[in-house]
């Protein structure tokens, strides 16, 4: 009895640092948002001359005046990449907005109406998810006449199935919860139950789904453009930049693909970080850790 071992001594559970997990998460999220918003705004207000053609500066290696170097027409790669990423984020925003609205309507309809509506919507979801995504994107983008609109449209209408599934499952779950059933028997109207019980339950899941749609949308826009089905060559876009860079990579122009690829990767990963952290914060199970 005298040699009591202190259980959990030295275990990581006892560690307490000044910054707790929740603070850390909020810092992460803010940093990620600042970066993405800065890129978006910089791209929107940028003077086109910054990434214009300057033949006298062809193929410069990265330096202080051109951090990402220049390409075969002497365009500054740093500004071009920023503009390209900004375009990608715009497409991502549009696509996520459209997709999420579709998902919300479909998901709620399937769960609330049930029966045939549910069957049709579930079937549509399965259909879309069963098809190779990139093929579907190519087809739609091609049909809509390529270009900025084509790619935005294609990305927008193909990203709803997963979120639809998520929304449907959440609504179904909360609809059958005892407290919602009890509210029905207490004579609450459908709108009131939707407003007070269902939406507050579904909203966090929906928002996280929305944020996690972003990286997908951006990547898909970039792939379409890379394959030549997206933005035209004159518009700065990461996909276009990368496909041009492919031609020069054998001649040792490494900076043409490295930096644009890197900033795309960082942007995509940051969205993932935001989504994951939000998920942890909003989930009551892990919210206190």
């Amino acid at each position: 009895m005298h040699n009591d071992s202190i259980f959990a001594a030295g275990s990581p559970r006892l560690k307490s640092s000044g910054i707790n997990t929740r603070k850390k998460m909020i810092i992460y999220i803010t940093a990620a948002c600042v970066y993405l918003i800065a890129v978006l705004i910089a791209g929107l207000v940028m003077n086109p001359d910054l990434y214009g053609v300057h033949y006298e500066n062809k193929f410069l290696t990265p330096s202080f005046s051109h951090p990402f170097g220049t390409d075969f027409m002497g365009r500054d790669m740093f500004w071009r990449s920023i503009k390209g990423l900004s375009n990608s984020i715009l497409v991502g925003l549009a696509a996520s907005a459209v997709s999420s609205v579709i998902a919300l309507i479909f998901g709620v309809a399937a769960a609330v109406a049930g029966g045939k509506t549910d069957k049709i919507i579930t079937w549509l979801v399965d259909c879309c998810m069963g098809m190779p995504h990139i093929v579907l994107l190519l087809l739609i983008s091609y049909m809509m006449g390529r270009g900025g609109f084509g790619v935005a449209f294609a990305v927008a209408v193909t990203h709803w199935p997963e979120l639809t599934r998520l929304v449907r499952a959440e609504v179904l779950q909360v609809k059958n919860a005892q407290y919602v059933q009890a509210a029905v028997k207490m004579g609450k109207s459908k709108t009131r139950i939707a407003k007070e019980h269902i939406i507050p339950h579904v909203l966090p899941v929906y928002l996280i789904g929305l944020v996690l749609l972003f990286p997908h949308a951006i990547m898909h826009e970039a792939s379409l453009t890379f394959l030549g089905f997206g933005f035209s060559a004159s518009t700065p876009a990461i996909g276009g930049i990368l496909s041009e860079a492919m031609k020069h990579i054998v001649t040792g122009k490494w900076w043409l693909c490295l930096f644009p690829g890197l900033i795309l990767l960082v942007a995509v990963m940051l969205f993932d970080v935001i989504g994951d952290k939000l998920k942890m914060l909003l989930n009551p199970g892990s919210g206190n850790q």
Binding site: M1, S5, F7, A8, S11, R13, N20, R22, N288
Partner: protein, 311 residues
């Protein structure tokens, strides 16, 4: 230091256990909420210790602490010994599922998409052992191929218990194994536990149903607001109020529907807002000034009690 059990081996000894959870109250600030404090409990081989108390008294948390399955924001202090050796986090991982087994509440804890035979076999077991366990509880071989939803209530019980006899387990923890069962089925489940104990296991039976606990247990530990208030032989509860030591345990007897069905007033204090001194003081008929100090467990008439007025 089992009072009555000097000839039996101590399987699990928990001393001065505290469990607290860190949580965010508003915005960014973390606070600690201590939900278990100065808790002592000991389980011996060959006996059933029933842990009784109301919900929120920390019964399940004790089980989770012993198994090492508390969430990450929990902090534990105090000591735990398993078979006379300190139980570390590493040991818990190694022992759980083998020497320390949890019998869950219901089939809902089984994977609904996996045949029960495979689940009972687990990662560590063998088919032969699983068949033997099934035979022991009168489960035929086609039960192996069933999915959890195909089991009737009684079969489900036996499947859950058979998970415990797969390995040579020394300690079996059963967390609320009876709610929702009718009397007959509940008694059958408890008979299985009795059998396991008679073969030398230590069984910790966590329940809020004192009636059932009394029908099989050897000893009873009464929990209140995260601590043990009394630990005594089960006979004392059967003998009635006078044999018990703590006023809370006595209140249990009065509240039983087959007795006077008279409750005491008030509720268990909230973990974030505990009174100083005796936690039961504000509901206690024996309350005096001495109850405001720190109350230690003391031995009284062959049992242990946390009350200054116990005689």
């Amino acid at each position: 230091m089992g009072v009555l059990n000097n000839n039996k081996e101590s399987v699990l000894k928990v001393k001065n256990l505290t469990v607290s959870f860190s949580r965010y109250d508003r915005g960014w600030n973390k606070t600690n909420l201590q939900v278990i404090h100065s808790l002592d409990v000991e389980v011996f081989s060959g006996e059933i210790l029933a842990v009784v108390g109301s919900s929120g008294s920390g019964k399940s948390l004790l089980a989770h602490s012993v198994l090492g399955i508390l969430p990450d924001n929990a902090t534990i202090t105090g000591s735990m010994e398993f078979m006379g050796k300190p139980l570390t986090e590493k040991d818990q991982k190694k022992l759980r599922g083998e020497q320390i087994v949890l019998i869950p509440q219901s089939v809902e804890f089984l994977d609904p998409l996996m045949k029960v035979g495979k689940q009972v076999k687990g990662i560590k077991g063998t088919v032969e052992k699983m068949r033997e366990a099934f035979r022991r509880y009168g489960l035929s071989e086609n039960v192996e191929k069933m999915y959890p939803f195909q089991l009737s209530g009684g079969m489900a019980r036996r499947v859950l218990v058979s998970t415990a006899v797969m390995e040579k387990s020394k300690l079996i923890i059963a967390d609320e194994p009876t709610p929702g069962l009718d009397m007959e089925m509940a008694m059958e489940t408890l008979r299985h536990f009795r059998q396991l104990a008679d073969q030398g296991c230590g069984v910790m039976l966590i329940t809020h149903d004192i009636d059932l606990a009394l029908s099989v247990a050897d000893r009873i530990a009464v929990f209140y607001a995260g601590t043990t208030v009394e630990e005594c032989p089960a006979e004392d509860f059967i003998k009635g109020k006078k044999a018990l030591r703590h006023p809370y345990s006595r209140a249990f007897i009065d509240a039983l529907p087959q007795n006077s069905f008279k409750p005491i007033k008030g509720t268990q204090p909230y973990a974030g807002d505990l009174p100083k001194g005796c936690l039961f003081a504000d509901r206690c008929p024996l309350r005096t000034e001495e109850c405001g100090g720190k109350i230690q467990m003391s031995s009284v008439r062959g049992g242990k009690v946390r009350c200054v007025h116990a005689t």
